[in-house]
């Protein structure tokens, strides 16, 4: 996730979707179905395409009649897994205030779930991973779990990816006890997961070592000034001319 181009154009995006995302057809309300199908495809196949999902929210923004709360919630659930990138808030930005549709047969689930989603997002954003899992497993989040995240293939592992990104940037070694609370794993589950990442676990001390990467190697440097030739072009040209 170091390059923004994978975010802008995921390799899994089809040409049809690419045309919708990048062309004026993205404003055509009759295309919302295609994008919504694509969202459900992402949900089933552990893919993620932020820009395509933002295009759905854009259509909802301009055409309130299209609004489908289930789709919005699923988009937000997917966006949670993109942290530390700001996708979640970018999605929320597009949700305009709307008068509550008073249809008693089909109550809108978003108003009640949005605060839960936002709390989950805040905890994750603040790297308060144990608190995230506690809230996620709590009664408050039950409607979210039972109706939405259960359908999202690999949701919990995607959240663990968020954790892994944070941990491997900040740690060289971490106690397995601490890591288990971040990943919400029991002592038995942890070793398999950790080894799959290529991390090693010391059986006697239970300390997990994380291989070196660009972020967990630190070095004191003194940045010295370098002068590029183009900076001096005018001075030299002038000296030559006169």
């Amino acid at each position: 996730m170091s390059s923004a181009s994978a975010w802008e154009t995921p390799s899994t995006r089809t040409e049809l979707i690419e045309n919708l995302v990048s062309g004026v057809d993205r404003y055509n309300p009759s295309n919302v179905g295609i994008l919504e199908d694509y969202l459900y495809h992402q949900i089933r196949s552990e893919e993620y395409d932020c820009l395509a999902n933002l295009a759905i929210l854009k259509l909802y923004q301009f055409n309130p009649d299209l609004y489908n709360p289930d789709v919005v919630i699923n988009i937000l659930v997917k966006a949670l897994t993109a942290l530390p990138f700001p996708d979640f808030n970018l999605c929320i930005s597009l949700l305009d205030e709307r008068p509550v549709a008073s249809n008693p047969d089909e109550p809108d689930p978003l108003p009640s779930l949005l605060p839960v989603l936002q709390s989950l997002h805040n905890l994750l954003q603040q790297c308060r991973f144990p608190a995230f899992w506690a809230l996620y497993r709590s009664e408050d989040a039950e409607p979210l779990r039972d109706n939405y995240t259960i359908e999202v293939a690999g949701f919990e592992n995607a959240i663990r990816e968020v954790v892994v990104r944070a941990v491997k940037a900040a740690f060289q070694r971490i106690s397995s006890q601490r890591l288990s609370t971040y990943l919400d794993f029991s002592d038995e589950e942890l070793p398999t997961f950790v080894e799959a990442l290529g991390w090693t676990i010391d059986a006697s001390t239970g300390v997990v070592s994380i291989p070196p990467n660009a972020d967990n190697q630190i070095e004191s440097t003194v940045v010295q000034e370098t002068i590029q030739l183009p900076q001096l072009v005018k001075v030299i040209a002038h000296a030559q001319a006169s």
């Binding site: 996730m1 170091s2 390059s3 923004a4 181009s5 802008e8 990048s22 062309g23 004026v24 057809d25 404003y27 055509n28 932020c50 820009l51 933002l54 854009k58 923004q61 301009f62 530390p84 700001p86 808030n89 970018l90 929320i92 930005s93 597009l94 305009d96 205030e97 008068p99 509550v100 997002h121 805040n122 954003q125 603040q126 790297c127 144990p130 944070a166 941990v167 940037a169 900040a170 740690f171 060289q172 070694r173 971490i174 106690s175 601490r178 609370t181 300390v207 972020d215 190697q217 630190i218 004191s220 003194v222 940045v223 010295q224 000034e225 900076q231 001075v235 002038h238 001319a241 006169s242």
Partner: protein, 606 residues
């Protein structure tokens, strides 16, 4: 393919234009019967028309002579497509007469001055464009002004886009920018006005219930996209980047795109889209529509300063909202330096105030960015920022206490956000419930999203100030110092680590403003080894080159000027020296007015 796509939307656009009541906008002048004594019966409509005509003649008689002369002259210049005369009339004549005669009142209505311009409908549309812009900027527009200015804009764009072939009109670039700029401003102003349900009169409620199409987001986007597609501006920019010849470009962009009017309107519409999407809170799309535009000061499209400044303001703001602080900082530094340099040339312009206001907001945004992402920055700019927002900068580095300072600066400097849809005016019941539920203003919504990010980063400055004191430190000990729970503190350290890594554009990181790589730019880095925090600090050696280069160049200019000035007294032996000095001048690259050469010399910190 592109052509097919447009078709759907052009159809919509046509519909919008058909909705416009032409009679309403064009007025009744000259369309109705003449007053005639011999006519046996005067029906009521004719009578009203006659009365109107008489009233308009009386009104025309009231118009001061200099204004009449100005309008006739202005009309003539437009007819002849005389760009320099149009510019003079547009930039100075209009403003001068506004100060003199119409500082607090409207200009004469288009119907009144129509006889002066032979009822030239195109000129009258342009005149109304100026008329309404004046109403918006000097006088509070009423509900009729808001709808009529929309209708007039539609007529103007309809004329430009739906005539047979490109229209033979030419207008100064500045005016073309102002047309797009004002169109979006009026759209934004309408949306804000529309969202305030409580203050509407009965009449206004009825009007709003009937006309949900006026100033709709779709209609505004339609205009902008149509102009972009007609002018083929994106293809044009790509062709320029590929170094195609003038002829090749002409073949690519076609009969519309070769005309300056369409080309510039197309380019300004791209910037317009950037702005509209930002106002609607879609920061990703805002940057995406700009993907072909290269941000630099050499592009042939940057001659209109106001456009240039607006572009950077919105791009910088979008980066801020995408939490790409390094990119936001770079964008602001670049344009603020430009504005600082421009100041010496640009004080006369009536847009100068506007540019200064935008610059001030960018300084505020810059202060926010550097508070969230401390990094070595351009000295010129950071000095100005410290001067203006020193107090807030101090507060922003103080954790939770600093939140109000972020809030203050954000609300001051953010664009005037709008919501895409009107309150449900067409349904009185829904409207009632809409009034009762407390709707958060769009700016407040975006503020709270932004603050949620700031909030997550709150512990960072404190941690940073402690870590700076050590090279390694036990986490338990650090937690004790901070009087914090150890586990929570370790989690905060991870936040700090993430905050020091941001996506940023890199030199060869692909095309478009959304491209970028993750970079680390914090001067303070750390890593946790089990429970021990190791800290490394990077320092930057002092930079001298920029200073020396700038001053060397300055000295060279001074020398050139000296060499070129005539010697005070010319005694005989000195004569031989004179031509020599003259000869040196062209060789030295013709001394330009001081200041101009500094242009490139900001010496960016790499």
């Amino acid at each position: 393919m592109a052509q097919q796509r447009t078709a759907v939307w052009e159809a919509d656009l046509d519909e919008d234009f058909h909705d416009v009541d032409l009679n309403l906008a064009i007025g009744s002048y000259g369309q109705n019967g003449h007053y005639d004594d011999a006519q046996p019966r005067i029906d009521e409509a004719t009578l009203i028309a006659v009365q109107q005509q008489v009233a308009q003649q009386a009104a025309l008689a009231q118009v001061p002579d200099p204004v009449k002369r100005f309008i006739v002259h202005f009309h003539q210049a437009v007819l002849e497509n005389n760009l320099s005369e149009i510019s003079v009339a547009y930039e100075s004549g209009w403003n001068r007469l506004t100060e003199k005669f119409y500082a607090k009142t409207e200009w004469p209505e288009a119907e009144v001055i129509a006889p002066l311009v032979n009822d030239d409908q195109i000129f009258l549309i342009l005149y109304r464009e100026l008329y309404y812009r004046h109403v918006y900027s000097r006088i509070q527009p009423d509900v009729d002004d808001r709808f009529h200015s929309y209708e007039n804009s539609c007529e103007l764009f309809n004329y430009l886009l739906n005539s047979d072939g490109p229209v033979p009109l030419e207008l100064p670039e500045q005016w073309l920018w102002d047309i797009i700029d004002e169109f979006i401003y009026q759209f934004q102003s309408f949306c804000v006005w529309r969202s305030k349900v409580k203050s509407k009169s009965e009449e206004e409620l009825v009007l709003l219930a009937d006309s949900s199409q006026a100033w709709s987001s779709y209609s505004v986007l339609n205009v902008l996209y149509s102009l972009i597609q007609k002018s083929k501006i994106n293809e044009h920019i790509i062709a320029l980047q590929e170094g195609k010849s003038q002829e090749e470009i002409a073949a690519i962009v076609g009969e519309y795109g070769t005309r300056p009017l369409y080309r510039m309107l197309g380019y300004f519409s791209v910037i317009g889209l950037l702005r509209v999407h930002s106002l609607l809170g879609d920061f990703t799309l805002a940057l995406k529509v700009m993907e072909n535009v290269e941000l630099n000061q050499k592009s042939p499209f940057t001659r209109v300063t106001a456009c240039h400044v607006t572009t950077y303001y919105y791009v910088g703001f979008c980066y801020l909202m995408l939490r790409r602080y390094p990119d936001a900082i770079r964008t602001f530094v670049s344009v603020l330096n430009f504005i600082l340099r421009m100041r010496q040339y640009h004080t006369r312009s009536y847009q100068y105030d506007q540019i200064n206001k935008t610059a001030d907001r960018m300084y505020a945004l810059f202060a926010i960015c550097t508070a969230l992402f401390p990094t070595r920055v351009d000295d010129n700019i950071s000095n100005v920022v410290k001067e203006r927002y020193g107090e807030q900068i101090g507060k922003m580095s103080r954790g939770d206490e600093g939140i109000p300072a972020f809030e203050e600066l954000f609300l001051y400097a953010c664009p005037k956000f709008i919501s895409a849809n009107p309150p449900p005016y067409e349904d009185p019941e829904l409207l009632q419930s809409y009034v009762e539920m407390s709707v958060t203003e769009p700016a407040q919504r975006h503020l709270s999203l932004f603050l949620s990010d700031v909030h997550a980063q709150v512990p960072v400055p404190t941690l940073r100030s402690f870590l700076k004191l050590y090279t390694s430190l036990n986490a338990t000990k650090l937690a004790n110092f901070l009087d914090a729970d150890e586990e929570e503190m370790v989690q905060q350290l991870m936040v700090m680590k993430q905050a020091s890594r941001r996506t940023s554009r890199v030199d060869n990181g692909g095309k478009g403003l959304l491209a970028g790589e993750t970079i680390s730019t914090s001067d303070l880095d750390f890593v946790i080894d089990e429970n021990m925090v190791h800290i490394a600090e990077s320092t930057v050696g002092r930079r001298y080159a920029g200073w020396f280069i700038r001053n060397t160049e300055h000295a060279q200019r001074v020398l050139d000027t000296l060499k070129n000035s005539p010697l005070p007294v010319a005694p005989k032996p000195a004569q031989s020296a004179q031509p020599k000095a003259d000869a040196a001048a062209p060789a030295a690259g013709a001394p330009k007015p001081a200041g101009q050469k500094v242009a490139w010399g900001g010496v960016k910190v790499a």
